[in-house]
């Protein structure tokens, strides 16, 4: 079956490593170590990923059609030619958006539950929403 015909919802839920790799690649292609750094930056150091977990996830994501290895180098002159760069596929973008929507639905539900009456989004407490 062509990858574009696949249902992104069928890939959910994603593991934290896969989800954060998708987010790290959302603004363009990156090499392995750059993905690790971006994940640490995006999560303020609360979620770090080791090189082995990173490449195990990359292997799974490539076979699932979420990301692809690219041949182009952002800056070939200053870059190590052995580095392998990865970028999101359109299906990978759809899966990331589907996972974000799933989180949004969970947050909406959490607001309505009486047992979680005192619950408040960390984003709203920081004045971000």
């Amino acid at each position: 079956m062509p990858l574009t015909d696949r249902d992104p919802e069928a890939m959910l839920p994603l593991t934290p490593a896969v989800f954060h790799i998708l987010l790290a690649l959302a603004d363009g292609e990156r090499h392995g170590y750059s993905i690790m750094q971006e994940i640490a930056t995006q999560t303020q150091g609360k979620f770090r990923i080791g090189p082995t977990t990173l490449y195990r996830s990359i292997k799974q994501m490539i076979s699932a059609g979420l990301i692809v290895e690219t041949d182009e180098r952002p800056d070939p002159a200053s870059d190590d030619e052995r580095r392998r760069y990865y970028c999101l596929t359109p299906f990978g973008q759809q899966v990331a958006l589907a996972e974000i929507r799933r989180f949004e639905r969970a947050i909406t539900l959490a607001h309505r539950l009486p047992g979680l009456a005192g619950w408040q989004s960390p984003l709203s407490s920081e004045g971000m929403v």
Binding site: Y33, M36, G50, P51, T52, R56, D80
Partner: protein, 320 residues
């Protein structure tokens, strides 16, 4: 490109990289071959950055989470390899099936290409009619020779494609006592032998003088030979458990064969156009046959190219 000099790593970084490299080889060989250099490169960058920010103590502290990451990750990778043998086997079977089909399609394409090509080769018959045209228009003669040579190269490449495959198929069939494969290849070999003997009789003149003055029986026998060999060898290849290496290797001479077929088509097409203006009488009433021949040859080349593409990209093709 300027070559960058890499500064020597501090001992703690060099030592960590060495230990990490050893640990990486705990993983499955296939995973290590594909990803170990990249994992090690990321680990090296991480160690160097940590050393510059936090010194040797920072690198030592990295080991607490990363030893679990590498050892646990490699064991998990072994588990995933063990968990999915059925999926892997199915994918592999599908890939090999696609490659075998590609070889058979290429073989059939050549057989279909060969018939109109032989028709074009008959354009020089009789020589008394051909020689004055070839002398007056040497470019036509050159094109004829190019088409002939390209066809012969294509045939040689077909042999290079099929013979190693048949050798391996026979070897495997003998080892596993696959009588069906041995019968198919045996039938093909007997038919080839008989056809060679008959051809020898035709060449010596005994066949035509004795009972087949117009060569009609020989022509029917030729079609029978081509049909039998094509069917039996295709079935034998389809039933054999050939490895990916053997099948992929066979695709290279098949690529040259397809290119030679294309050259033969271009040469015969130009030759036909030139002959139409220089000596229209040479085709007689068979001009439409020439056009049909060109179309068939072009169709078989497209067919062979698609089969080649499927063979080379069998690994990436989705399983149904």
């Amino acid at each position: 490109m300027t070559k960058r000099t890499v500064p020597p790593s501090p001992w703690i970084v060099a030592c960590s990289i060495r230990i990490y490299r050893w640990l990486l080889w705990l993983g499955p060989a296939e995973f290590c071959r594909e990803y170990a250099p990249s994992i090690l490169q990321s680990f090296r960058s991480l160690c160097q950055d940590t050393y510059h920010q936090h010194g040797a103590w920072g690198v030592l502290r990295l080991w607490l989470p990363l030893s679990g990451d590498v050892v646990g990750g490699m064991l998990a990778e072994h588990l995933s390899v063990l968990q999915h043998p059925l999926v892997r086997d199915e994918r592999r079977r599908h890939m090999l099936r696609t490659q075998r089909r590609s070889i058979i399609m290429i073989f059939l394409a050549f057989v279909l290409f060969g018939l109109p090509w032989l028709l074009f080769q008959g354009v020089i018959d009789p020589l008394s009619q051909w020689n004055p045209i070839a002398q007056a228009h040497p470019e036509v003669d050159i094109l004829y020779r190019v088409a002939r040579m390209a066809g012969e190269i294509a045939f040689l490449m077909l042999l290079l494609t099929l013979l190693p495959i048949l050798f391996v198929a026979v070897k495997q069939a003998l080892a596993s006592l696959r009588r069906d494969i041995l019968t198919l290849i045996g039938l093909s070999a007997i038919m080839t032998l008989v056809f060679m003997v008959v051809t020898l009789l035709v060449i010596t003149g005994y066949w035509t003088k004795s009972f087949d003055p117009h060569g009609g029986i020989y022509a029917v026998f030729g079609f029978l030979f081509v049909g039998t060999v094509t069917i039996t060898l295709s079935l034998a290849v389809a039933r054999s458990a050939l490895s990916e290496r053997v099948l992929r290797l066979a695709l290279w001479p098949a690529t040259i064969m397809t290119a030679a077929m294309l050259i033969a088509l271009v040469a015969t097409s130009i030759e036909s156009v030139l002959l139409t203006s220089y000596a229209p009488h040479i085709f007689g009433s068979g001009m439409s046959m020439e056009v049909v021949g060109d179309v068939v040859m072009a169709a078989t080349i497209i067919w062979a190219t698609v089969a080649l593409w499927r063979g080379f990209y069998a690994r990436q093709l989705p399983t149904r």
